[in-house]
């Protein structure tokens, strides 16, 4: 599948934004985070910035972005519509949270923060289910896919939270959370790649043509000598030969390096910890960008069987 830059950016940016919103709403009442309103407002602002930038980027993928409002109507059947509804609804408690922080209404801040955390989790779940529900794409139509979106969103959100909270003077807790979530993410990605490497395509060319009785079927002549939208969209094969290298880059940048930096920050604290956690947040985002790009590039669609066999 073609890794459209707008969608790759959207899922990474809004995933991290919702992850940050989730942890902020959930952890602030526990006292593990700096309690100054300025800290929560900075995190909230950053999360809404990432979410909004991602949502705007996703509309660049549309042929008619001015009609995007119509996508809110089919939540009964469509995960994409549910995602849109959940994304917009999450703005309400998030903005309420911000209002409560500014006006000092601490009870409202806790309630709105928790509601925003719930909305964030639901939205990212819907994003994952858009892909997990597509039967023609074997690498996506798997129970591990949507939990993966949730976990990596939570992980990248925690990396951002740790960086901001280090600036606010709290290092230990968030830094150790990065290590825990990073380990979980690492295991998840290794398991995912193990699964998809063993997975056959969702169908064969023989069953795609109804010619199973004749034996093996292979392509002879394509319908056109030139390419088409279908081929660009579903027949994407550019990255396959680099996949192994890109997977290693993803593991290193996205997981190993930030976990080491977090351990370092937790050990030493101070100004160096701020620097280390800022760097960790950036490498997590870079690693997840590679991960998301690969998630598309390595996915195969049954329609490509008709062309590539």
């Amino acid at each position: 599948m073609k890794p459209a830059p707008s969608i790759v950016f959207f899922t990474v940016a809004s995933g991290a934004g919702y992850g940050l919103l989730f942890w902020l709403g959930l952890l602030r009442p526990t006292g593990l985070l700096p309690q100054a309103p300025a800290f929560a407002l900075t995190c909230l602002g950053l999360s809404l910035l990432l979410i909004t930038a991602g949502l705007l980027a996703s509309t660049f993928h549309l042929g008619n972005p001015q009609r995007a409002w119509r996508a809110l109507s089919q939540w009964r059947s469509s995960w994409l519509s549910r995602e849109g509804v959940a994304a917009l609804l999450t703005y309400l408690p998030a903005l309420c949270f911000g209002f409560a922080l500014v006006s000092g209404a601490s009870g409202l801040a806790v309630a709105a923060g928790l509601l925003a955390a719930l909305g964030a989790a639901v939205t990212v779940w819907c994003t994952g289910m858009i892909y997990a529900s597509l039967k023609p794409i074997a690498q996506w139509h798997h129970p591990i896919l949507a939990p993966g979106y949730l976990l990596l969103g939570a992980y990248s959100g925690m990396a951002l939270l740790a960086a901001v909270s280090a600036i606010g003077g709290v290092v230990g807790g968030p830094a150790s959370f990065i290590v825990t979530l990073g380990l979980a993410g690492l295991v998840l990605k290794l398991a995912y790649w193990q699964i998809v490497d063993r997975l056959g395509p969702a169908a064969s060319l023989a069953s795609a043509t109804g010619l199973e009785a004749l034996g093996r079927v292979r392509p002879l002549d394509p319908p056109a000598t030139e390419t088409s939208w279908l081929m660009r969209e579903m027949g994407f094969r550019v990255a396959r030969k680099h996949a192994a290298v890109l997977r290693r880059i993803c593991l290193l940048l996205g997981f190993v390096l930030p976990m080491l930096l977090s351990l370092f920050a937790g050990q030493f604290g101070g100004g160096l910890a701020v620097l280390a956690l800022l760097l960790a947040a950036l490498t997590v985002l870079a690693g997840i960008l590679v991960e998301r790009w690969l998630l598309f590039a390595e996915a195969t669609h049954t329609a490509a069987l008709y062309y590539h066999g």
């Binding site: 042929g63 109507s73 469509s78 849109g84 039967k135 795609a208 062309y307």
Partner: protein
Amino acid sequence: MTCLPDRPPGAPALGLVIDLDTCVGCQACATSCKQWNASGHSGPLPDLHPYSAGAEGVWFNRVHSFEAGEGAAGRTVHFPRSCLHCETPDCVTVCPTGASYKRAEDGIVLVNHDACIGCGLCAWACPYGAREMDEVAGVMKKCTLCVDRIYNETIPEALRQPACVLACPTKARHFGDLADPQSAVSQLVADRGGQALMPDLGYRPVNRYLPPRQRQAESQPIEDQPTPLDIKNPLLRWMGRVLTR
């Protein structure tokens, strides 16, 4: 609405039956489809760089050629590919806007181009690659089963069939109601063992493909004339050589 409609009992399921035994891969169905659908319900259909390198456009019907089987039993099969108007199509249910829909009255799957946002998710959800993005208009387009022909009372009744069916010179394409077991197309499917494509994915396609007939084991091609060595009489062999000089 992109929820699938409750189809009334006995409602027809209009579709195509395509005979892979007689299809010669001439592309007449593809070009007549393009000609008809470039106007009407789906028009205009884009054709980018039509007279230079990189020519491409939207086609609702594309004819592939495959090799099937091995050795002497192997054969070339021409394979027209278009929307199968599935009974449970995910391309409809994934649509976030309600632009993609299945008609309750005859089962045809259509796109309302005025409501489509061009997200492309329906094309991802279709295992058959039947939907193509019109990148000029920014909306998804697909086979309409010539909905603007088959009910069109301004054309003679005999011509109220999909353009591809009318154009086929070998009569490899048949149009009809596949929900009615007595219909001509259903009889054809029953007689020839018509196949549904990728049935395991659960889309319940309506269109059927008739597999190529079994070759008769002992049949010799008529071109297989005796060679001079097959002629036992030396006089006749010599005459044959002289006369073919």
